[in-house]
């Protein structure tokens, strides 16, 4: 049983990692959801024990209720986060008309090159500095001549 569970955790985690490395955002999100499920299965495996349903005052050996409670919480959290991510992906699609990471990357590169361009104010300020320096040169040279 332990072997089967650990193998399935490994397979799910592996497929999730593979999907997350894809360029298509929908696959990345699928990978993230799978990853959450691999973690859930792992929590269940942490308390893997055969037994009856854990009621109070049970006379039989019971299974571990705590891991089930934890998994339930983790499922709810990963569900909420998945919804949030999907809405962000939708917003990204809305503003870029693409869910291809290559497209998003090139948009980022364009933005970065725009950032490196000096702004109009910076150019103006630099010109002003140059002019000041020239003025000073003009101001000093006659004295030297004199």
């Amino acid at each position: 049983m332990t072997l089967i569970v650990s193998l399935s955790v490994a397979v799910i985690f592996g497929s999730a990692a593979y999907l997350m490395l894809k360029r298509d955002l929908i696959r990345v999100i699928t990978g993230m959801i799978l990853l959450g499920n691999a973690a859930n299965l792992f929590i269940m495996a942490a308390g893997l024990r055969e037994g009856r349903a854990p009621f109070v005052d049970s006379e039989f050996e019971t299974s571990d209720p705590l891991v089930q409670a934890m998994t339930l919480t983790a499922i709810v959290i990963s569900f909420g986060v998945a919804t949030l991510v999907l809405s962000v992906v939708y917003r990204v699609y809305d503003s870029h008309h693409s869910v291809d990471l290559r497209r998003l990357g090139s948009a980022e590169a364009v933005q970065a090159s725009l950032d490196d361009q000096p702004t109009a104010q910076e150019i103006k300020a630099e010109e002003a500095e140059l002019r000041e320096a020239e003025d000073q040169d003009v101001g000093t040279t006659p004295e030297v001549r004199a």
Binding site: M20, V28, A39, A46, T73, V88, V92, H96, D116, E122
Partner: protein
């Protein structure tokens, strides 16, 4: 009861604020007021804990040992106070200019709730739940502003940090499997009994999870992209408050729960910390946009915390706490003041820059001095050299940035309001005050660290 008070204020306050339109000024100021109330409650609790020792309570009236425990000790309270200060300042800053999304004040409060909760909790799984509350708030905050660029940044942030969260969850499940407990104190008592291999694996998973949050060198790749795109208040929140999860987590889980594994992995942390310092510093010098420079500076600053942790011992942990606290304040001040204009903002930025470089009138000096001290006590001259080199690098990139922002380019990106200027001035004064009169903070960090190595073998 008093432990739950800050949490209750933030919890009900956030729900209440979430129903209202956060773009209105009164709602924004109400949120600031609630955060201040939670901050004062935490400070009162901190004074109580300082005088009478740590407090503990079980949630919802369960017996101790069965219910989830809230545990307030000085380590958690120190981090909670710093995070709440940063959150309050950043929210106030944004409200004094213009809040762009109605949910913003409520999100900042939810993040405060998550952070305070995880600093106070004594239960590993509960830690994860609070951690996710603050992370989800951060996911939404990262897209605040909603320009295409901010959406892309939010996407990167979510994907990478979700990976970190899942790793952390797996780490907790592994801890539970190995010890049979979720209570952090009991786990800490039992970890020395675990076999070497599972213990090291679990410790490594937890270390990687927190390093992703902190933006440590090999896990830093998401950080510049996110910080460059976001607005200054959000960048201040992410680096001044959210990153505290990473430093607190490394100290709590490293020094408290896995002290043996921390000792064994010390050299790895030393190497990663050194690379972080140099990489962050060199990259920051090569960048131009202020948020990008500060983002790489964040990567560099984290390295110092890691080095302090790797040297270890009570003095090392105290230095790590001290450095983490001062670094959080520095980063909040720098991100906020770099977006303003005028000589007041320039002066405030200069204080932050001095503090990052570790020049005496600012608080950062004592963070660096504590590091120098432990490095000399540990007889490791090359760490002293490294810290000095890191300081020199930060001096260069900080003043490059200062020149570009406050000498050459005098026009503001956005409104420089009186309120915003007042806030950065107060934050700068706090950092100067720490530098002028550091005894309380030094004492606090030593007291907070003194609870850690008790259990170390």
């Amino acid at each position: 009861m008093i432990i739950a008070l800050p949490l209750a204020i933030l919890w009900f306050g956030a729900l209440f604020i979430a129903l209202l339109d956060g773009t209105r000024k009164p709602v924004g100021y109400a949120a600031v007021g609630l955060l201040l109330a939670a901050l004062s409650a935490t400070v009162v609790l901190g004074v109580d804990v300082y005088l009478n020792g740590p407090k503990e309570m079980a949630i919802a009236g369960w017996e101790a040992g069965v219910g989830i425990a809230l545990r307030a000790d000085l380590l958690g309270i120190t981090f909670a106070v710093v995070s709440l200060i940063v959150l309050t300042t950043a929210l106030w800053f944004e409200v004094s200019r213009d809040v762009k999304a109605r949910i913003f004040p409520a999100l900042v409060m939810f993040m405060g709730l998550g952070l305070t909760g995880l600093f106070f909790t004594g239960d590993a799984f509960n830690f994860y739940v609070f951690f996710e509350i603050s992370m989800v708030a951060a996911y939404v905050l990262a897209s605040y502003g909603e320009s295409p660029r901010q959406l892309r940044a939010a996407l990167i942030f979510i994907v990478v940090n979700l990976l970190g969260s899942v790793l952390f969850l797996i780490g907790i499940a592994a801890m539970y499997h190995n010890t049979g407990w979720l209570d952090m104190e009991r786990i800490a008592v039992l970890t020395p009994l675990i076999d070497q291999n599972p213990a090291i694996l679990t410790a490594t998973i937890v270390f990687v999870a927190f390093s992703i949050k902190l933006g440590l060198f090999p896990f830093h790749f998401w950080l510049p992209a996110v910080y460059t795109g976001t607005r200054p208040a959000v960048a201040a929140i992410l680096s001044g408050a959210l990153a505290n999860i990473g430093s607190y987590g490394l100290i709590r889980f490293g020094a408290d729960i896995f002290p043996r594994e921390l000792r064994e992995g010390a050299w790895i942390m030393l190497v990663l910390g050194s690379i972080s310092i140099i990489y962050g510093g060199v990259q920051a010098i090569a960048r131009h946009s202020p948020n990008e420079v500060l983002a790489y500076s964040t990567i560099g600053q984290v390295g110092y915390i890691l080095i302090a942790l790797s040297i270890g011992g009570e003095a090392g942990y105290a230095a790590a706490i001290l450095y983490a606290v001062i670094n959080a304040l520095n980063k909040a001040l720098l991100f906020l003041s770099a977006s303003l204009r005028g000589w007041i903002a320039g002066a405030a930025f200069a204080v932050g820059a001095f503090s990052v470089a570790g020049v005496p009138p600012a608080g950062g000096f004592f963070g660096k001095m504590a590091l120098f001290q432990i490095a000399i006590d540990d007889d490791q001259p090359w760490i002293v050299a490294l810290i000095f080199l890191g300081g020199a690098l930060s001096f260069v990139y900080m003043f490059q940035l200062y020149r570009a922002r406050f000498w050459v380019n005098q026009e503001a990106d956005e409104a420089t309001t009186k309120g915003a200027l007042g806030l950065v001035t107060v934050l700068a004064l706090v950092i100067v005050a720490i530098g002028v009169y550091p005894e309380p903070l030094l004492l606090l960090s030593q007291q907070a660290a003194s609870i850690l190595p008790e259990r170390a073998p």
